[in-house]
C-alpha cells in the first residue's frame, strides 16, 4: 500500500483512502491490514474520521498557533481558558454521546475531568468532531502554544523551563507559569512578584547598565524601598541592572533577610542554583551578576552583609511595626537614564515605573510642604508617609492572586448558592436578611436619615426542572450502561421492614414501641404544623385561582393535626386521653400543642384544654424535669377568653376534679403547687369573674357549680401552706374582687397575702 507513507499533497483523495496522518509509525504496521480495519471501523479510519485534508488541517492549526501567540501577547493570558475549556469540553461530549441529554450531572462532571488529558486551549472548536477527539488531541499539542496560565496548568507537571526560555522572548512574556518552582523550600524572594510585566526596553539597557554601573550608595541601616508596589511592576531584569537594586537587596528588608542570604549565596556560587529559576532573565541576571565585577560586587555584598539580620528578629521587625517610620521610595536612576534624582529622592532606590515615580514625586512634594509646617527639618528621610492606605501600596506581594482567579473562586461560591427554592434550602439566611430589611425599612420610616445602602447578595435563581434520569447510551453498543452515581445509586441491600408479632414482645418493648410511636406522631404533626404556618407566605406568592385550594389544604391539614393529637377517633366518642397524654409527656409534644392550639377551632381548642386540665396532675409530675408547661399558658389564655360559660365551668371542674369530692383534694393541691396549674386556675377564675361582671351576673350566680368551685378553690388556697403555693405567672387583678364576693374579709386578707 503505497498510500500509507506518501504525502502527495493532492486534495483529491477519496475519503476511503485517507490514512492516519499524525502517527504514521504507529499505524504503519496496520497499514497492511487497512482494508480489514476500514471495514470494521469506519469511524476511526474511514469516512467518519476526517472530513478534510490533513494538510489543510495542519495549516489551520499553524494559523491558530500564530493567532494564539499574538493573542497571548495582547491580553496577557490567552483569553479565558477557564471558560473556554468548559464550553468546548461540554460541546465535545454532547457530540460524543448519542443521547444528548446527559441528565446525570455527576457522570457529566466525572467524564469531563477525565477526558481532557492535555487539551490545548485556543483550538478551533470546529476541529473537534465527535469521534475524532482522540486523534486530534495528539498532533497539534506539541506545536501548540499553551496559554501561560490556565486552570489545568496547576494540575500539570511542571514543564522543563528550558524549552520555554528558548522559544520565547522574555521581555514579551506576560505571565510565567506559576507551577515551576525553582527550589524546594522557600523560593528566593523576588523584589517583584513573578507575574510582573516587563518593561519594553529592558534588554538593551540591561547590558549597558551592568557594564557601566552607576555609583553605588550603600546604606548600612535598614530601609524600606518599595520600588514596584503601585500597580505596575518591574521585571527582575531592570532590578538586577540597578547596582543597588533590591533584587540583590530586597524591598522588604526585615522579612526577607533569610532568603536574602540564600540569594546571595546563589550569586556567590555563580548562579548555580539560580540557573534553575523559572524566569529566564533571572537566570541570566544572576549569572551575570555573579561574574566578576569587582567594582560592584564587593561593595554590594558588604552593604548587604551589613544589613543582614537574624531571621527571627527580621520577621519580628516585619510583623512588629509596619507603620513605623517608613521613608518613601524615591525613584532611583531610571533605566532610561533620566536625570539623576539627587537630593530629592533617595539615590539608592530602585527603578520605578514612570507613572509611579511621578505620583511619588507629587506626594513627596505635598509631604514636604506639610513637613515644613510640621517639624521643619526635611530630614534625611524626606517625609514620613505612614497610614493604612499606604500599606497595600507598598506590598510587592500583593495581587498574587489574580482578579481572574478571585472571580473564579467567587463564581464557584455563587454556583453553590444556586437553588430552586431558596426559602427551603437556605431558610435561616433568608429569614435573617428579611428581618434586617424590615428593620432598616422601619428605621427609614421613622427617621428621614440617609438611606443606608446595604449591599445585598443576589443569589442566582435556578428554575426548577424535573430531571428524569436516563441512563447513558453509547452508539453501537449493546444494551445500556449502568453507571451508578450520586443521583441514581445502585441498590445494594434489600432492606425489608418486618413487624414483629404482638405476643413475643415483652412489656418493656411495648412501652418502648409506644413511646416511639408517639415520637413519630409528634414529628408528623410537626411537619404538618410547619406547612400550615407556611401557608401565609404561599398565599401571598400564589395566584388568585390557586388560593381557595390553598385554603382548603390548610384546613385539611389542621384537621389532620388535631386527629393526630387526640388519636384517631374510633367512633363519636374520644374515650381516652391516652394518646394526648402521651404526647404531652414529651417536651416537644407540649411545645407542639402550644403552637397548634391557636390554629384550632374553638371547640377543638376547648377539647384540648379540657383534656389538659383533666390530666393535669399527671402532666405536672411528668413535667418536673422539663418545665415546659408554662409555655402553654399564653395560647391557653387566648382560648379561655373565647370560651362560653358552660365550658369554662366544666374546665374549672376538671381543674379541681370536682366530681371526686373529698376533704382532701390532691388533684387541686397538686394544681396549686404548680406554677402552670395555679396560673391556669387563676385565669379560669378571673375569666369567670369577668363574665359575671359583664353579664349581669344572673346566670352565673344561679349556677351552683361555679360557686362551689370558687369556694373549693379558696378553701384549698387557704389550706395550702404558703410555701407550697406556687408563684403564678400572672395574677389577674380581678381575682380579689371575685373572691371578696364569696368569702368574709378575714379570709380575704389571708388570701391576699397568699396571692402576693
Amino acid at each position: 500500500m503505497e498510500g500509507a507513507g506518501s504525502r502527495t499533497g493532492s486534495g483529491n483523495r477519496s475519503l476511503e483512502d485517507c490514512r492516519l496522518d499524525e502517527d504514521e509509525d504507529a499505524f504503519q504496521a496496520l497499514g497492511e491490514e487497512d482494508e480489514d480495519i476500514d471495514q470494521f471501523n469506519d469511524d476511526t479510519f474511514g469516512s467518519g474520521a476526517v472530513d478534510d485534508d490533513w494538510q489543510e488541517a495542519h495549516e489551520r492549526l499553524a494559523e491558530l498557533e500564530d493567532k494564539a501567540a499574538a493573542g497571548a501577547e495582547r491580553d496577557g493570558d490567552g483569553g479565558d481558558p477557564l471558560g473556554e475549556h468548559e464550553d468546548t469540553l461540554a460541546e465535545r461530549l454532547t457530540r460524543l454521546v448519542i443521547e444528548s441529554e446527559l441528565e446525570d450531572p455527576a457522570v457529566m462532571r466525572a467524564v469531563q475531568t477525565r477526558t481532557p488529558a492535555q487539551p490545548p486551549a485556543g483550538l478551533h472548536s470546529g476541529l473537534w468532531d465527535g469521534s475524532a477527539v482522540l486523534r486530534r488531541m495528539r498532533a497539534p499539542l506539541l506545536a501548540q502554544e499553551m496559554p501561560p496560565v490556565s486552570v489545568l496548568d496547576y494540575a500539570l507537571p511542571p514543564r522543563a523551563p528550558q524549552n520555554r526560555e528558548e522559544e520565547r522572548d522574555p521581555s514579551e512574556r506576560a505571565l510565567p507559569r506559576r507551577s515551576s518552582s525553582p527550589v524546594i523550600g522557600s523560593p528566593p524572594v523576588r523584589a517583584v512578584p513573578i507575574g510582573t510585566p516587563p518593561k519594553q526596553a529592558a534588554v538593551p539597557g540591561f547590558n549597558q547598565q551592568i557594564l557601566c554601573p552607576k555609583p553605588v550608595h550603600i546604606r548600612a541601616s535598614m530601609q524600606q524601598r518599595y520600588p514596584a508596589a503601585y500597580g505596575e511592576r518591574m521585571s527582575p531584569n531592570q532590578l538586577c541592572s540597578v547596582p543597588n537594586s533590591s533584587l540583590l537587596g530586597h524591598p522588604f528588608p526585615h522579612s526577607v533577610s533569610p532568603v536574602l542570604s540564600h540569594l546571595q549565596r546563589a550569586q556567590l556560587l555563580g548562579g548555580a542554583q539560580a540557573g534553575r529559576m523559572s524566569p529566564s532573565q533571572f537566570a541570566r541576571v544572576s549569572g551575570l551578576v555573579g561574574s566578576p565585577l569587582p567594582s560592584v560586587n564587593p561593595k554590594l555584598l558588604q552593604g548587604r552583609v551589613g544589613q543582614m539580620m537574624s531571621p527571627a528578629s527580621g520577621f519580628r521587625a516585619f510583623f512588629g511595626a509596619p507603620a513605623a517610620s517608613q521613608p518613601p521610595p524615591g525613584p532611583g536612576c531610571h533605566l532610561q537614564s533620566l536625570r539623576p534624582p539627587a537630593q530629592m529622592f533617595r539615590p539608592d532606590t530602585t527603578h520605578l515605573h514612570p507613572q509611579h515615580r511621578r505620583l511619588l514625586h507629587q506626594r513627596q512634594q505635598q509631604n514636604r510642604s506639610q513637613q515644613r509646617g510640621l517639624n521643619g527639618a526635611a530630614g534625611d528621610r524626606g517625609g514620613h508617609r505612614s497610614g493604612p492606605q499606604e500599606q497595600p501600596r507598598k506590598d510587592p506581594y500583593a495581587n498574587l492572586m489574580l482578579q481572574r482567579e478571585k472571580d473564579w473562586v467567587s463564581k464557584i461560591q455563587m454556583m453553590q448558592l444556586q437553588s430552586t427554592d431558596p426559602y427551603l434550602d437556605d431558610y435561616y439566611y433568608q429569614n435573617y436578611f428579611q428581618k434586617l430589611e424590615k428593620l432598616s425599612a422601619a428605621e427609614e420610616v421613622q427617621g428621614d436619615g440617609p438611606k443606608k445602602e446595604r449591599t445585598k447578595l443576589i443569589t442566582p435563581q435556578v428554575a426548577k426542572l424535573e430531571h428524569t434520569y436516563k441512563p447513558v447510551q453509547f452508539e453501537g453498543s449493546l444494551g445500556k450502561l449502568t453507571v451508578s452515581s450520586v443521583n441514581n445509586p445502585r441498590k445494594m441491600i434489600d432492606a425489608v421492614v418486618t413487624s414483629r408479632s404482638e405476643d413475643d414482645e415483652t412489656k418493656e418493648k411495648q412501652v418502648r414501641d409506644k413511646r416511639r410511636q408517639t415520637l413519630v406522631t409528634i414529628e408528623k404533626t410537626y411537619s404538618l404544623l410547619l406547612d400550615v404556618e407556611d401557608y401565609e407566605r404561599r398565599y401571598l406568592l400564589s395566584l388568585e385561582g390557586e388560593r381557595p385550594a390553598l385554603v382548603g389544604e390548610r384546613k385539611q391539614k389542621i384537621c389532620d393535626m388535631y386527629d393526630n393529637l387526640r388519636g384517631k377517633a374510633p367512633g363519636q366518642e374520644r374515650p381516652s386521653d391516652d394518646h394526648f397524654v402521651q404526647i404531652m409527656c414529651i417536651r416537644k409534644g407540649k411545645r407542639l400543642v402550644g403552637r397548634i392550639v391557636p390554629l384550632l377551632s374553638p371547640e377543638q381548642a376547648a377539647d384540648v384544654l379540657l383534656a389538659t386540665a383533666r390530666n393535669l396532675p399527671f402532666l405536672i409530675k411528668k413535667d418536673a424535669q422539663d418545665e415546659v408547661l408554662p409555655c402553654l399558658l399564653r395560647p391557653f389564655s387566648h382560648v379561655l377568653y373565647h370560651l362560653p360559660l358552660a365550658t369554662l365551668t366544666s374546665l374549672a371542674q376538671q381543674l379541681t376534679n370536682l366530681p371526686q369530692s373529698g376533704s382532701a383534694n390532691p388533684h387541686l393541691a397538686a394544681v396549686l403547687q404548680n406554677k402552670f396549674g395555679l396560673s391556669l386556675l387563676y385565669l379560669v377564675l378571673s375569666r369567670g369573674e369577668e363574665l359575671q361582671s359583664a353579664d349581669g351576673a344572673a346566670e352565673l350566680l344561679r349556677d351552683n357549680a361555679w360557686t362551689e368551685l370558687v369556694l373549693l378553690a379558696t378553701r384549698e388556697l387557704l389550706r395550702a401552706p404558703p410555701a407550697a403555693v406556687a408563684k403564678p405567672l400572672a395574677a389577674p387583678a380581678n381575682l380579689l374582687a371575685l373572691l371578696s364576693r364569696y368569702v368574709d374579709p378575714q379570709k380575704l386578707n389571708a388570701l391576699q397575702t397568699k396571692l402576693q
Binding site: G185, S186, S255, P258, P311, A312, G314, F315, R316, F318, F319, G320, A321, P322, A323, P388, Q391, P392, D395, Y397, A398, N399, L400, M401, E405, K406, V409, S410, I412, Q413, M414, Q416, Y429, F433, R454, T455, K456, L457
Partner: protein, 133 residues
C-alpha cells in the same frame, strides 16, 4: 468590588495579615495570598506562634499551604492593634522550653488522674484520636 456581601467569603481577606488556628493546635500568622473554594490557604511570610501562659514565641516559617479542612478558624489581624497585647514575646528556645514543661506537667496530671480513676474502678474516657488538640 464587593465580593459576596452578607456571606463569609475569603476573597476580601486576601493580602491581609491573618491569624489561622489549625486543627492540630498550631497558630499561624501570615499574609493570606491565595484561596480556593475549599478554603485552602496560601500564607506568605508565615510565622508559627507558640503560646505558653502569658508568653509567646515566633518561629518564622516562610510560605504555608494549608488544606482547608484543617483550619479551625482564621481572622484578620489589625496591624495597628497588633502590638497592643499583654503577652510577652520571648525567644524561640525559651518558648519551646516552656512548651515542653507545660506538656510534661499535663502528662503528669493526666497520669495522676488515670491512676485515681483506676483506684476507684472507673474507666478512662477515650479521647477522640482525630483531634489531638
Amino acid at each position: 468590588m464587593n465580593y459576596m456581601p452578607g456571606t463569609a467569603s475569603l476573597i476580601q481577606d486576601i493580602d491581609k495579615k491573618h491569624l489561622v488556628l489549625l486543627r492540630d493546635g498550631r497558630t499561624l500568622i501570615g499574609f493570606l495570598r491565595s484561596i480556593d473554594q475549599f478554603a485552602n490557604l496560601v500564607l506568605h511570610q508565615t510565622v508559627e506562634r507558640i503560646h505558653v501562659g502569658a508568653k509567646y514565641g515566633d518561629i518564622p516559617r516562610g510560605i504555608f499551604v494549608v488544606r482547608g479542612e484543617n483550619v479551625v478558624l482564621l481572622g484578620e489581624i489589625d496591624l495597628e492593634k497588633e502590638s497592643d497585647t499583654p503577652l510577652q514575646q520571648v525567644s524561640i528556645e525559651e518558648i519551646l522550653e516552656e512548651q515542653r514543661l507545660e506538656q510534661q506537667a499535663k502528662l503528669e496530671s493526666e497520669k495522676l488522674k488515670v491512676q485515681a480513676l483506676k483506684e476507684r474502678g472507673l474507666a478512662v474516657p477515650r479521647a477522640d484520636t482525630l483531634d489531638e488538640y
